[in-house]
Symmetry: C2
Subunit: 151 residues, 2 copies
C-alpha cells in the first residue's frame, strides 16, 4: 500500500521534515521513492519582468537563468536522493518545469504511485495565499492517499 511513494519537494524546511517520516514508513513497506521537483513556470514570468525592468531583453538572459535554476535544483535533489538511497530506498528523480500541483498529479498518474507524502505548506508566497496552497489542491484532486506533514 505504501510501496512506491511520490515525494514532491520544494526544498523548504517542512519538506525536509518529510524525510523523517519516509524513514519511519520504511516499516510499512516503502521500496521506491519518486522524488519530484517542479520549477514553477510562473517564476520565469517574474524573471522576465525583472529583466525588462532594468531595460534588458529577456531572451538574452533566459537560457542563462534556466541553466542556473536547473543546476541548482539538480544539486538539491541529488542531496535528498543520496540520503534516501543511504537508508535503503530505490530513488527515481524527476525535474520538470510547470505548475506544481498539476505536475504532481501528473506524476501520481504516470508513475502509478501508491501514496503521496508532502509538506502542508511549502515556500509561502502571495500566489499561494491567494490561490490556496499546492498541498490543498493535491489533496483535493489526488486519487491515492496523501500523507501531509505539518510545518
Amino acid at each position: 500500500m505504501f510501496k512506491k511513494i511520490l515525494y514532491p519537494t520544494d526544498f523548504s524546511d517542512v519538506s525536509a521534515r518529510v524525510m523523517d517520516y519516509i524513514r519511519e514508513l520504511k516499516g510499512s513497506g516503502i521500496q521506491t521513492v519518486i522524488l519530484l521537483h517542479v520549477i514553477d513556470q510562473r517564476d520565469f514570468k517574474c524573471f522576465e519582468q525583472g529583466v525588462q525592468w532594468v531595460g534588458k531583453l529577456p531572451a538574452e538572459f533566459e537560457n542563462e537563468y534556466r541553466k542556473y535554476i536547473t543546476d541548482e535544483s539538480n544539486r538539491q535533489m541529488g542531496a535528498i536522493a543520496k540520503e534516501l538511497t543511504r537508508i535503503g530506498l530505490e530513488v527515481r528523480s524527476k525535474l520538470v518545469i510547470g505548475v506544481p500541483f498539476v505536475e504532481i498529479l501528473k506524476a501520481e498518474e504516470e508513475e502509478s504511485v501508491s501514496a503521496i507524502i508532502l509538506g502542508s505548506h511549502g515556500k509561502s508566497n502571495i500566489r499561494e495565499m491567494m490561490l490556496g496552497s499546492v498541498s490543498e489542491k493535491v489533496i483535493r484532486k489526488s486519487k491515492t492517499p496523501v500523507i501531509v506533514i505539518k510545518r
Copy 2:
C-alpha cells in the same frame, strides 16, 4: 512517529477504507488507536425542527433520540474497535457530541497523538459542500501529520 494515532470515523465507506491503511501502518509502529466519533450537535437542531414541524414538542423526544443515536454510534464503534483489537492494537474509543472538526482537533491535543488518519470526504451533505469538508479543516489546523485516505 506513528505510535499513537487518532482515527476519527463517521462510519462512511471511505472511513472503512482507513482500516486497511491502519493495518498496513502497523509496520511503522502504530500501537494505540484513539477511535473517535463525533455526533454532530447541529443534527440535533435538524431533529428538533422536524419534531416541531409535525406539531410536537422537541423536549419530549430529545432524550429518546439522543439515546438512539448514542446506542447506534456505540454499536458501530464497537465493531471497529473489535477489529482493531483483533489485529493487535490497543484501542481507546471516544464518543462525543459537538462540531466534528473542533472535537477532532481537541482530541488531537488532549491525547497527544502522533498522527491523524482520516477519509478525505465523509458523509457528504449540503453543510459540508458550503463550509468545506471536515478533513480540509482538520488538515489546515492540525499540528501533527494527517494521513488522508481518498474515496
